[in-house]
Symmetry: C2
Subunit: 149 residues, 2 copies
Amino acid sequence: MKSFMEIAFSEAKLAFLKDEVPVGALIADRKGQIFAKTRNKNRELNDPTAHAEILAIRKTCKELKSNKLFGYSIYVTLQPCEMCLHAILNARISRLYYGASDLENTSLQKVYNTISKNKKFNIEIYSGINEKKCSDLLINFFRTKRIKS
Amino acid sequence: MKSFMEIAFSEAKLAFLKDEVPVGALIADRKGQIFAKTRNKNRELNDPTAHAEILAIRKTCKELKSNKLFGYSIYVTLQPCEMCLHAILNARISRLYYGASDLENTSLQKVYNTISKNKKFNIEIYSGINEKKCSDLLINFFRTKRIKS
């Protein structure tokens, strides 16, 4: 059986095929029921907010008819950007698991440090899940882009 | 004729009437053509990402069939939160005008300081437009909430 991160990775691969930045996400409840598996759709939807995480949150909240996701977990193949991280916090998601880290973005790392030290943000964060696979997909995507341009 | 912030304020008042946190937004191009006027719809849409700014960006990008809004301005009655500020930056909006400041959120003020010092973020930010009016509406809203609870 595929792990949640592997399912999110399949979504990221689909995004790659559609010429979108290859990031996938999945939201599941405590019992392991999946509520959303989504991929980045910035170009497809002409929407700069259509990152995989935002789409997953919107889908899950719509289904649950709630704008709070206490107890839910989100799996993302890439460390969420500032916008998505704060969407995850706004949605009160309890656990964030991500694959590749966005180490080039040093200000993002500072935000994560602040959040992990501040008890106001009631979230557990786990990094490096299937990291190499998730990271390689992104590296390949941007390499292809550079060759094309 | 109403100013752009006054139109955004009318949206905020509508949000108040619908029992949503009263924040309104408007996006216009260089020539002053309005592309979106929106209000916070977290409860109505069961969507924690449905802040006025995100809805305005999504609407404008959809209309323009573009996920970048170079040269556009956004007017918001309340200082955008971290999620919305980064959505505005992701959308490459050129100018942000806001009314009330969210002074209680000290970490947010630090984010704004960092952004205004970093030339990578090519955005002009203007605060305090119709500040008292925008702020009073929010204060009244939360006062009503406290009385009810």
